[in-house]
Every structure is written in structure tokens, then in C-alpha cells.
Subunit: 275 residues, 2 copies
């Protein structure tokens, strides 16, 4: 018998991956959590039927969420990750020696638990002494923070289920308040092929709050369309104005200092969503 | 009953698309040809089980094959397209007013026939007076040409079936001979996630023949991994050295003059394939 996992990424299109075995399946307090071992992508974390991360391609998302804002900010010391319970963004954040503290606020403790068990090379750095892990509601955490963080990264699921509040203008206003006066935030904002309206709406909302609002892209094979977008809002520093000497050596598989700027050069139909 | 078409893009991974109906299916002299109407991507041309083009995302591939070399060459007049029987590359080539003649050499006349019938907005320009369509073996056509073309574009299927000869060093040497002394060629060279060896080998072969060899990328949702590569070989002109005044206005949905250079900025693991 062959087992295949299929994610319907839209009503009418999806990806399908051959499964060696199911490692864990559970209805948590917040969502359906599945961890499977695939032939092509290694272990794969699936939440509410949607691929969150895989061992083979996780580096793209995690590097691109973390390094673009962290190399844009001249001295990021205090970093917050909202969501991201698999720990991959935290792992990348810790590659920056300026970072003194990285806080992870993940609503679902089960995501952390099973990522540590089945995705150890992704989640392993959650044990680092600079990291504080809070199992809590990211929306509430943001609402209670003020003038505290240099960089905030929103590593959420899609705007269904527990993440629905994380795509609202009220949330972005809260982020602005939680950031210091020269803070930067970035959020994953889905793909331009099937979710153009979402990107357009987020760009509009963020632009009303942050003086510098930008969209950048990366290729993630297991995400819908393979092209993923990230919306960046910044109070002071422009990611396109980073000078060359700002970049220090870090080990990456996707991000480079050249890509730091090229990832903002958008295909025309994507650029049109930012206007 | 719901009908879904599934392409196994590797042994263990694929895409699946809901089908409204099958428009045509036929074993041609060279390959299995299917034309289906999908819910998500409109009409879709499938050869030997692999998606070739769809109405929704075809513009990416066709624009990126055509405009990168055509804006690199200062005065492309005589252009050859090998393969590409759907006519999409030809449509883009004809947007360049310098082009006096565009020759299409497609081995399988059935691809042309059913593209005209079911993909008219892609194939319609094959009737243009500047276009000559030859139903012939591209490998042989290249072997018989000398010092003739300004730009050659290889719009082939994967290196299985009729296209296997189009990924050989002998073919690239033939292309060099068929090009004028300042000619440029580009070929689609699959994706870096599942076909890294192919890209590395083509880069090595082309580099031994063309003084300027480059790799660029584009996002195509219906192709494996969503990230597609194109290998460009040039005798004289560097696509990265094109000056701004060279670009003239054309109507596109993906290509822009900024992307002309940014598409050569590769993720690290892809850049490593070119070394």
C-alpha cells in the first residue's frame, strides 16, 4: 500500500507527497497537528492540513524571515517571534551576535513539543540561553508590550484558525507600539497567485502605520505556488538602503547579501499588489 | 464525480489539479498529448504526463525565455525557437520591433495544432507574417545552420523522450555554430530542488563553449518546486551589463527591466550549482 498526503492549497489545486509513515497525529486545543515522514522532504509538520515546514526546504522560510530584518536593523538586540513554534526562525535569529534576547510566543505548546521530538535540527536552538519560550497568545502578548523590541517576526499559519487575528490592522498597530522607535517587523503574507487580495490588504494596512513598507519574495516548494511573500514594516531603516559593510558572515543555504536586495525586485503582477 | 489530474514531478512528490473536462487526448508520433480544462489554471497542455503550459501561468515562462536574451542583444533581427510549439515564446519575441524573422522548429506538429485550437491567446501569433513554422527535428535544424541567428531559444520538454538530444554538449556546440559571432542562446534547464545535477552539467557544458554563461530563475507554480532555471550562453553581450536605455516599453505581466538583472541573483544553494 502506498500512502500519499495531499494538501488542497486551493479548492482546485494542491500538492501530494508520498509518506513513509505517520509519526504523530493529534487534535490540539487549537488545531489538527500531524507529523509525517515523507520520501521527498523528510519529516513534515502539518497544521490543519497545511504544510508548515519540512526538513528539506525549511531553510528558505526561516532564513528569509530572520535575516532580511536583522541585517536591516543596525543593532538588533531584543527580538520577538510570534508563532514559529518549530523554532526555525529562532535558530536563524541566534546567528546574529548582536541579539541578546529572543522571545518566542507560540499559542500551541504541542507544536513546540513535537517539533523538538521530530524536527530536532530545526527546534534544537529553542534550548539556547538567550531564548525565552512562552506558550501564550501572540496577539495578547503584542497588546501588552510597549517600546520593547528591535525586531518582531510574525511566523504564523494562514489567516484561518488561531492566526486569524494576526492579519488585522489592529495587530499591526499593536506591533508598532511594541517596537522601539526604530523597530522593524516582518510577517509571512502568503502567495500572490491565489491570495492576491490578502497581500494587497496587508500592504495597505501596514502602509498606514509604518513609514517604510515593503514586500519581498522567496521560493518554497511545499507552499502554494512556490512563491511566498513577506511584508516588512519599518519605522526608520530601509532594507534597500543597507550598506555593504553591514553584512557579516553567517552560514546560510538561501539568503545572501545580494539576495537581500534582489528579493525585493518583484515580478510585475506582484509589484502591482503593492501600489 | 470529481476528476483530478496528478503529475508526479518526482517519484515521491507531485501536483494535483481539478479537471472540468478532457478536451483532447492522443498518442502522437512522439509523445502522449493531453489537453484538459482545469478549474484553477484554465486550459492546460500536458505532454507525457508533464504540465507544459497553462492559461493562467504561461506568461511567466514565455516572457522570461524571450525578453532576457532579446533585451541583452542590441539588435536581434533573426530569432530561432527550438520546440515551443504552443507559440508562447514566439508571441513574446514578436513584441520586439527589431525582430524581422522568427523561426519555430517544433518536432511535433500535433502540439501546434492543438495549441492553436485550445490555447489561442498563446498560439495566435504563429500566424504572424514574420513567423516561419517548421515541423522538424530541432537538433537536425541546428546541425544544418551556420552563422545565421542572433538569438536561439530552446523551449523543450524535459530530457526524456524527444528532447533528450537537446541537453547534450554536442547540441550546445551546434547552437554556437548556428549563432552569429555575437549571438545569444537560452534554454530551460529544469529546477534546482530535484534536478541539481542536470543544472550543474548544463552549466559546465555551456561554459566550455560560450565565454559568458549565466543562470537565471523564475517562479512557475505548475512546474516542479515552483522555481525554474534558464541557462544563457552568450558570445559577446552580458545580460548583466545591459544599460538602462536599452530597455523599451513592452507589455508584460512578469518581466520588468529591474527583474532582468535581479533574476540572476540566485539563492545560495542555486548559485553553488554554477561554480
Amino acid at each position: 500500500m502506498e500512502l500519499w498526503f495531499t494538501e488542497k492549497q486551493t479548492e482546485n489545486f494542491g500538492i501530494t507527497a508520498k509518506i513513509k509513515r505517520t509519526l504523530h497525529t493529534e487534535q490540539t486545543q487549537f488545531q489538527k497537528l500531524d507529523m509525517v515522514e515523507t520520501e521527498e522532504f523528510g519529516n513534515m509538520l502539518i497544521l490543519d492540513g497545511m504544510v508548515m515546514t519540512t526538513q528539506k526546504d525549511e531553510f528558505v522560510y526561516h532564513e528569509m524571515v530572520a535575516h532580511v530584518p536583522l541585517f536591516t536593523h543596525p543593532n538588533p538586540e531584543n527580538v520577538l517571534v510570534v508563532g514559529g513554534g518549530d523554532g526555525g526562525v529562532i535558530r536563524e535569529v541566534l546567528k546574529h551576535p548582536s541579539v541578546k534576547k529572543a522571545t518566542l510566543v507560540e499559542i500551541d505548546g504541542k507544536v513546540i513539543e513535537y517539533s523538538k521530538q521530530y524536527l530536532p535540527e530545526i527546534a534544537g536552538k529553542l534550548e539556547d540561553s538567550r531564548v525565552e519560550v512562552k506558550v501564550d497568545d501572540g496577539f495578547m502578548h503584542i497588546a501588552q508590550s510597549e517600546n520593547e523590541y528591535d525586531v518582531i517576526m510574525v511566523d504564523s499559519t494562514e489567516p484561518v484558525g488561531p492566526a486569524v487575528n494576526l492579519f488585522t490592522k489592529g495587530f499591526y498597530a499593536g506591533i508598532a507600539k511594541a517596537l522601539k522607535e526604530d523597530g522593524i517587523f516582518v510577517a509571512q503574507t502568503d502567495n500572490p497567485w491565489f491570495k492576491a487580495d490578502l497581500i494587497r490588504n496587508v500592504q495597505r494596512d501596514v502602509r498606514e502605520i509604518f513609514p517604510i513598507t515593503r514586500l519581498y519574495i522567496a521560493n518554497i516548494p511545499t507552499y502554494p505556488s512556490g512563491m511566498w511573500t513577506f511584508t516588512l514594516g519599518s519605522k526608520k531603516y530601509d532594507p534597500l538602503a543597507v550598506s555593504d559593510e553591514r553584512f557579516h558572515e553567517i552560514e546560510t543555504k538561501y539568503y545572501t547579501k545580494e539576495l537581500h536586495k534582489a528579493c525585493f525586485v518583484l515580478p510585475k503582477f506582484v509589484a502591482d499588489l503593492t501600489k
